[in-house]
């Protein structure tokens, strides 16, 4: 490794970064006019008043699907390096990958059984504890056309 003096710029820039952030917040607080207004607290944080009421509750299903997607995305991150050199890893690598994929698969079975992939108004077979009032289904219905009532 080279001389550690070459890392000096990091610290200079770290200090500069902190100073800049502190300075810009401080100056804007000192100099900026303060006229609190309801519109400024509204979405977009810039004073534009929303013209119509947006549907508040986005169907939770979309988030669920996105989360499940991320899990499989991550599975690929680990499968990819293995696939590049699987012939060198031999049986050891194969067994390890099968164990890994098996663990993800069991979790996937759990998700399916828990109704995470049921897309539609049918009630989930089993609900977590008892949750009175709002359910996913009622939220989906309220949002209406934007929601996932297909099928």
């Amino acid at each position: 490794m080279g001389s550690l003096d070459s890392y000096l710029p990091i610290f200079v820039l770290l200090v500069l970064g902190v100073l800049f952030a502190a300075l810009s917040i401080g100056v804007s607080r000192l100099l900026g006019p303060r006229r609190p207004h309801a519109a400024k607290g509204a979405p977009y944080e810039c004073g534009i008043v929303p013209t119509n009421e947006l549907p508040r509750r986005f169907p939770v299903r979309f988030y669920l699907i996105a989360m499940i997607f991320v899990i499989f995305d991550i599975e690929i991150i680990f499968l990819f390096p293995w696939a590049v050199i699987y012939d060198q890893l031999g049986r050891f690598g194969l067994v390890e990958v099968i164990v890994f994929a098996g663990a993800v698969f069991v979790s996937f079975i759990y998700l399916v059984a828990d109704g995470a992939l049921d897309w539609g108004p049918a009630r989930r077979a089993r609900s977590f504890g008892s949750e009175p009032g709002r359910t996913t289904e009622s939220a989906v219905r309220r949002v209406g056309a934007a929601g996932g009532r297909a099928e």
């Binding site: 490794m1 080279g2 070459s6 890392y7 000096l8 710029p9 990091i10 610290f11 200079v12 820039l13 770290l14 500069l16 970064g17 902190v18 952030a21 917040i25 508040r56 509750r57 939770v60 988030y63 669920l64 996105a66 989360m67 991320v70 899990i71 995305d73 991550i74 991150i77 680990f78 390096p81 709002r134 939220a139």
Partner: protein, 101 residues
């Protein structure tokens, strides 16, 4: 003009600082969340740069694990945020205020 490793390290340090200040200053949970991602990616950039400078594969392997952890955090964080959204209107860190003492 050649760009040596210290520039990348400096960039990573700045990114990390922006992320850290963002988490402490911003009040929207999703924005705080993005700032945390920024911090993790700054660490990744540092790992890759050092890996290159030291000519050692270890730093690049570390990036894989950091990526995976970041994704796991995204999933869990989104899950918690969605659970809160279903009971509340906004997603602001100051909105939950029942725990004070």
């Amino acid at each position: 003009m050649t760009i040596d490793g210290s520039w990348y390290l400096a960039l990573a340090a700045v990114l990390f600082t922006i992320g850290a200040v963002g988490v402490l200053v911003r009040r929207n949970v999703l924005v705080m969340f993005m700032c945390i991602e920024l911090m993790l990616n700054a660490a990744n950039l540092t790992f890759v740069t050092f890996s290159r400078e030291l000519n050692d594969i270890g730093g690049q392997v570390a990036v894989f694990f950091v990526l995976v952890v970041a994704a796991a955090e995204v999933v869990v964080g989104l899950g918690i945020i969605v659970a809160i959204y279903r009971h509340r209107v906004g997603a602001t860190a100051d909105d939950p205020h029942e725990l004070r003492g």
